[in-house]
């Protein structure tokens, strides 16, 4: 397969933001996750835990609560006092409503999903009616003396429990009057602490209220009498989150020490029907605070300050041990944050609020496999481009010639012209962008850098001709009739004739760029597309799906290629299908048309279509180079998938030319080093 010089890049200083809330929707089997920078991500648990949608964050919009309501509508509320509804089709914010109660700390949708309750800083609990296209304020509940940090509806919708500081209130949801108050002990291990914050409450259908608080207690109350039934001291630090299973036979709590405890309702003795809550399993998958937990029917989901989203299946609920039963830890976004200008050897890194442009170094030395070559020129940090405004960057791209940079936030689109004069770089913003170009979900330059393709909300796709110092001709592709699906992924053929675009579920459309017309649609597939690319010369479209299938579709012939059919007939190697991160980038060898390069977070793979496919008996990945074997054996055992797991976690891999690879790595240790220190736990006695 040959030797490559690999530019091993570790200077992409990307740190994901911590997870603040998670909300699980049982009907669609989707998980909404909000992060401390206001980003909201939607994971499709049925599609191999693929992050299929995301809403960019906003500096002033710290999300404190997230919930699903009837009709799979997603709401969030935050410290800016606003309730926000998200448009899951257009991937925009539908509207924001101020609750006029100061910062909002908690929110809960009623069990039937038609009402929304928010708990505010000023101690008020406000009830909103959810109408088909908006929400409407209905009533205030009896005001409490301090902020409402947690809310939970009784499953029948008749009562509401609200956790405040030092006490839990129980409201009648009809009248809004407080009918009970349960005082929580401030004492902590015999020492009186300042205050006891009720971080979470859960109301069960038999009237039991479970609370978790800052003193490390999980308490079970009888709401009818207001008495404490049972007290579990689970942690020396705060217990910050709680989630109950739909059957109410188990619940999960997350602590500031990074531990997640599973509680189950177990009968006291074999013969009696009396049951009690028992702490059954502790899980330590986090190093920092577990800020949010969710309980799906088969799994415990947790997330926190250490930025990992952990999905831990409950083994007793899993019938067969397949790959869904494995622990999942999702750290990196399932989209590309790096783009590359191959000719100029430039890398553009996308951060939440700025872009960084780096030029790769070079070497004159050669070496053999495993050598690190001496650098004749180190990598240069050329540019640090900060966007104005509080919004996060959605997408960015550098043109293949390196002369243009484009990026977009939720409300502004930026296009820059770069001029290189020896070592100096001048940057000029292209002003007067057309009105319609206010935001983009995906940006792509054509191979010759003369055209810019922009996918924006409501499924619109536009092409802009770039000229020195400006642009002309903004033209739109004819939209699909009746579709409002936003396109998230774009790919253009190197000859500039074809553009492929894919939405979060609608399949892949191929457009003719010259005629601005739809050429064909790739047959629909059940799983969302994670990466797209069009091969040079052949114009074969390579599509990777979240179930780890890869298809090759010939655009001129409007059908799957022979190789793709062979692959589907034989099936992928089972280890290939068991990978747990999606392929996020596909590219091609510039000289060898038979080679496809793809990568996920933990490996990159060069597929040589001319070699036989591996079957389940062959070794898919052999980390050791074949030694002492003769050429014949080597040729016989060779298969199409050439995999390297040397670099990980990988954020980006591409072929700069036929002998050079660039691999952008982001070691987890470097991320941990930038997180606040975790709560120190004593490991040994004394």
């Amino acid at each position: 397969m040959g030797e490559f010089n690999v530019h091993r890049v570790r200077f992409f200083n990307y740190v994901p933001s911590g997870i603040r809330c998670v909300a699980y929707n049982n009907q669609s089997n989707r998980l909404a996750v909000s992060r401390t920078d206001g980003t909201v991500e939607i994971y499709n648990l049925s599609a191999n835990y693929f992050q299929e949608k995301f809403f960019p964050g906003h500096e002033s919009r710290a999300t404190e609560a997230l919930c699903w309501a009837k009709g799979q509508r997603l709401f969030s509320a935050g410290l800016n006092g606003e309730i926000i509804e998200y448009d899951l089709q257009a991937l925009t914010i539908k509207y924001a409503v101020d609750a006029f109660g100061g910062p909002i700390w908690s929110m809960a949708a009623s069990p039937n999903g038609s009402q929304l309750l928010v708990g505010c800083e000023d101690g008020s609990v406000k009830l909103f009616q959810i109408t088909p296209d908006k929400i409407q304020f209905e009533r205030n509940f009896d005001r409490q003396k301090s902020r409402i940090l947690s809310l939970s509806w009784h499953p029948a919708g008749t009562h509401v429990a609200a956790g405040s500081i030092d006490y839990i209130s129980v409201f009648d949801s009809k009248s809004g009057s407080a009918i009970g108050k349960m005082l929580v002990d401030r004492q902590y291990m015999g020492v009186s602490k300042r205050k006891c914050i009720i971080w979470g409450v859960a109301f069960l259908s038999d009237g039991t209220v479970i609370s978790v608080d800052s003193a490390g207690k999980v308490q079970i109350w009888d709401s009818a009498t207001g008495t404490l039934v049972k007290n579990h001291l689970v942690s020396n630090a705060d217990v910050q989150s709680i989630a109950v299973s739909p059957q109410e036979d188990s619940f999960v709590v997350g602590t500031a020490e990074g531990t997640v405890f599973h509680f189950q309702l177990v009968s006291v003795t074999s013969s009696s029907s009396e049951k009690q809550w028992v702490r059954t399993k502790p899980f330590q998958h986090h190093t920092h605070d577990v800020r949010a937990v969710a309980h799906s029917p088969t799994a415990l989901i947790s997330g926190g300050t250490d930025t990992h989203l952990v999905i831990r299946p409950l083994m007793e609920k899993v019938e067969v041990k397949n790959y869904d039963a494995a622990l999942r830890k999702i750290t990196f976004p399932h989209r590309r944050l790096v783009s590359c200008a191959k000719k100029k050897q430039l890398l553009l890194f996308q951060f939440a609020h700025h872009l960084e442009l780096w030029r790769l170094g070079s070497t004159v030395a050669t070496g053999k496999n495993g050598d690190t070559l001496p650098l004749s020129k180190n990598a240069d940090h050329l540019l640090h481009l900060k966007t104005k405004g509080p919004e996060n960057i959605i997408c960015s791209c550098i043109s293949p010639c390196g002369g243009w940079i484009a990026c977009s936030t939720a409300s502004r689109f930026f296009l820059y012209r770069l001029n290189y004069e020896h070592d100096n770089i001048s940057l000029q913003r292209v002003s007067k962008m057309p009105v319609f170009l206010r935001s983009a979900l995906q940006i792509l330059f054509s191979e010759d850098s003369t055209k810019l393709f922009v996918a924006s909300n409501q499924g619109s796709l536009r092409v802009i001709r770039l000229q020195e110092g400006g642009f002309t001709h903004p033209r739109a592709f004819q939209p699909q009739s009746g579709t409002v699906q936003s396109m998230c992924l774009l790919a253009v053929s190197p000859d500039g004739n074809w553009l492929a675009a894919s939405g979060s579920s609608a399949g892949v459309h191929v457009y003719n760029v010259k005629q601005l017309k739809l050429h064909c649609t790739v047959p629909a597939y059940n799983f969302p597309v994670t990466a797209l690319a069009i091969a040079p010369n052949t114009n074969n479209l390579v599509i990777a799906h979240s179930d780890q299938q890869v298809f090759e579709y010939s655009i001129p012939d409007k059908q799957y290629t022979e190789w793709s059919r062979t692959v589907q007939k034989q099936g992928f190697h089972h280890l290939w299908l068991q990978r747990d991160t999606p392929i996020t980038h596909i590219s091609f060898h510039p000289k060898r048309p038979m080679h496809i390069l793809l990568h996920d977070t933990y490996m990159f793979c060069l597929i040589d279509k001319s070699l036989p496919l591996p079957n389940d008996k062959t070794l898919l990945y052999n980390p050791l180079p074949p030694t002492n074997e003769s050429d014949v054996i080597r040729r016989r055992t060779a298969h199409a998938f050439k995999i390297s797991k040397k670099y990980k976690p990988l954020l980006f891999v591409d072929l700069l030319d036929e002998k050079t690879l660039v691999a952008v790595e982001r070691p987890l240790d470097d991320i941990v080093a930038q997180l606040p220190p975790p709560i120190k736990k004593k490991k040994f006695g004394t």
Binding site: N322, G370, L577
Partner: protein
């Protein structure tokens, strides 16, 4: 998909047989054991899974075995015929075939047949058949002739059709084949003429049968290489008349037509047959499995060293001669489907899907107690549940047992208990056992004479109990000073309170040696490092220098001088065990039990001074034994670990230090312990120093690897 697994040679030494291989392979009374009869003078009993012979019997020089040995499944005896007429019957205990039961018959025997569920049959060369019992009653009885002259029995088989034995045998006369079917329920002998296929000259080389609903299917492998099937009606319309049977071709050219020998056929199941022979005239001999339904070759296996044309098939094993060795090829065959026949069947064991491993499920006990299971669980154990339901539906065995406990005699309880334990375990098995014990204890308290010791022992040994499931059991045993039960409890229970552990310890230390002598104690944990015979004479022991300690080493303080005065005594103390092995075993059980220091200490203070000194001496002895080898472990199965020993030494000293210091006998012990500790501390500090410097090295190494933010590396993709 049929699957032939890797075969293995059953005999390490070649069979002393002629060119035509062994006479026969027959099942014996136990599964997995087979009788192999040499064509010479020997019968060997093999256990196939172990690949080793269990027994071997030979007839005298000059005699020759003429008929393969079989097992009489009704009596477990083996039967063999030598010199055509002499019947021998023996069993496993017999050594010499000359001295076993012998019966000389009046006619020559062709085969003895024996299958499960009926008495063996003897088939004579003239076609007559006799039951073994009838024959043994009168060995010299006249045997009639059934088949005509020049007719020779070629092949025979005995099997059960609807619980009635049927014998089938095939004879040949001048190239014509006749099939005789002897049914024993109606004593009817039917004779059929076998009409061969179109070709006249071919010779049938191998037969095999299987039984269907209405027909016996007789398969034959002809010399033209084809497999033919003949259907013989089980209930013939006119039994007395000579009828004709027509062969139909089933498979074509499974073996090369020119192959003269080494061809055999065996029916595996309704759709599969195994064929032994060379598929092409020039090729090596093969064992192949064919699907008769779809006429496809399923799998085959080359036998490069040649074979003898004999194939036996029992259960899941195919037996054949490969070279000079009898080879067993385990075989698996699934229900045939078109996909399977074409080799397109997906692997049933999908690599991604495995059975869920065992894990603790907190919900099982509750589910069973309520009688309703959530659906996903019931799906998984549906089959097992069905079985259980059929057992449980009559009466819950546990309630019955609980009732028995309350009134019946000790013997009867024991029997009932054994029955209960033998049944399948339900998820709430442990709680039932707990209830049973509580019931027994309740009765013990009510009736002082009632003490079902064996029952209790049996229950404790079910490995499902804990202290909290049967509170009172250990207290009761303490009351009775039943050290055996106490030992078992200490070994089995995970949650014994410290006060009870300590009470056990007191009992173990104070109980008289003579009482211990009579009890039956599990000595597993002490057997390997303690001499059962305690003689005063001890060999000089100086070699425990590992870990930097030697009792002779004189670098300590002036007190060591005293020790030096009595070197003999020191050696004595360090190597001879201060307690009897039985007591040591009991003490080991205490050492193994779990405890929490804070709760144990107050109870340890109550132990009398001489007892605690004795225990300390024992612990010191164990420690010395430990330091005798480099791994710092004691020999034997499940001995106390070093950390357990050390923890107990510390605990004991903490609890009783002021007392121990005052006792003169303990002085030397304390001094040696002090020296021990001192040497250990110096070692540990050295180790710490080494560890720190290693860690520094490692850090340097890591920095070199990871610090660089940018590098260009060479990577070769293979």
């Amino acid at each position: 998909m049929a699957d032939l697994e890797e075969g293995f040679a059953l005999t390490a030494v070649p069979l002393g047989s002629g060119p035509d291989g062994p006479l026969g392979v027959e099942q014996s009374g136990k599964t997995d054991q087979f009788l192999v009869t040499d064509s010479g003078r020997t019968v060997i009993l093999y256990k196939v899974s172990d690949q080793k012979p269990l027994g071997s019997w030979s007839v005298k020089q000059g005699q020759i075995i003429t008929c393969p040995a079989v097992c009489n499944f009704q009596t477990g005896e083996y039967i063999v015929v030598h010199d055509n007429k002499v019947l021998r019957i023996w069993n496993n205990e017999d050594v010499n075939l000359d001295k076993v039961f012998k019966a000389t018959l009046s006619a020559e025997v062709y085969r003895i047949h024996s299958i499960q569920g009926t008495e063996p049959l003897v088939l004579f060369k003239e076609g007559a058949v006799r039951g073994l019992e009838a024959l043994l009653a009168e060995p010299q009885q006249k045997i009639e002739t059934v088949i005509s002259d020049e007719e020779v029995i070629k092949w025979t088989k005995f099997f059960m059709v609807f619980r009635h034995p049927v014998l089938i045998f095939i004879t040949e006369k001048h190239g014509n084949y006749f099939v005789y079917v002897q049914k024993f329920n109606s004593r009817i002998l039917s004779k059929y003429t076998l009409l061969l296929g179109q070709e006249e000259k071919c010779v049938i080389q191998s037969f095999s049968t299987s039984v269907g609903r209405k027909f016996i299917s007789l398969m034959s492998l002809s010399s033209d290489g084809c497999v033919y099937e003949t259907l013989i009606p089980i209930h013939p319309s006119e039994p007395e008349k000579n009828q004709r049977l027509v062969q139909s071709q089933l498979l074509k050219s499974v073996v090369s037509g020119s192959a003269r020998n080494g061809v055999a056929l065996a029916i595996l199941d309704q759709d599969h047959i195994a064929v032994l022979g060379a598929p092409l005239p020039a090729s090596k001999e093969c064992l192949s499995v064919w699907n008769t339904k779809f006429q496809t070759l399923q799998t085959s296996k080359e036998l490069p060293q040649g074979t003898s044309g004999q194939l036996w098939y029992y259960g899941e094993n195919l037996f054949m001669l490969h070279g000079k060795f009898l080879t067993v090829v385990p075989f698996k065959c699934e229900v045939s489907s078109l996909a399977g026949a074409l080799g397109k069947l997906k692997h049933s064991q999908d690599p991604g899907i495995h059975a869920t491993p065992h894990f603790v499920n907190w919900e099982t006990s509750q589910g069973c107690g309520l009688g309703s299971q959530n659906s996903e669980q019931s799906k998984r154990i549906l089959r097992r549940r069905k079985v259980e339901v059929s057992v449980q539906s009559e009466v819950p065995a546990s309630t019955q047992l609980l009732a028995t406990i309350q009134k019946d005699s000790e013997k009867h309880i024991e029997v009932e208990l054994r029955k209960f334990l033998a049944t399948k375990r339900t998820p709430d098995f442990h709680t039932i056992i707990g209830d049973v014990i509580i019931g027994l204890l309740g009765r013990c308290k009510a009736e002082p004479s009632f003490y079902p010791r064996n029952c209790l022992m049996q229950l404790v040994q079910t490995h499902v109990l804990s202290y909290s499931l049967c509170p009172g059991l250990m207290e009761f045993a303490l009351e009775k000073t039943d050290v055996q039960i106490l030992q078992l409890c200490l070994q089995q229970f995970p949650d014994i309170p410290e006060s009870v552990t300590c009470a056990c310890l007191k009992v173990f230390l104070s109980i008289g040696d003579d009482t211990l002598q009579d009890t039956d104690i599990n000595m597993e944990s002490v057997s390997d490092y303690m001499d059962p015979v305690q003689d005063g004479e001890m060999e000089e022991q100086t070699a425990f220098l590992q870990n930097g300690f030697s009792p002779e080493e004189d670098n300590c303080d002036s007190c060591a001088q005293k020790l030096k005065e009595k070197p003999q005594a020191t050696a004595d103390e360090s190597t001879s065990c201060p307690v009897t092995p039985k007591r040591a075993a009991l003490l080991n059980a205490v050492l193994h039990s779990a405890y929490s220091e804070t709760f144990l200490l107050p109870h340890l203070k109550d132990i009398p001074a001489q007892h605690s000194t004795l225990f300390l001496q024992y612990l010191y002895f164990l420690y010395l034994k430990c330091s005798e080898n480099a791994t710092m472990t004691l020999p034997g199965t499940h001995p106390p670990t070093l950390s357990q020993i050390m923890d107990w030494i510390c605990l004991l000293l903490d609890a009783n230090f002021t007392v121990v210091v005052m006792i003169p006998e303990a002085k030397r012990l304390l001094l040696s312990l002090y020296k021990f500790v001192k040497s250990q501390i110096s070692i540990c500090s050295e180790l710490n120093k080494i560890e720190v410097s290693f860690r520094e090295l490692q850090k340097l190494n890591q920095e070199k690897n990871n610090r660089e933010l940018y590098s260009i590396e060479v990577l070769e993709l293979f």
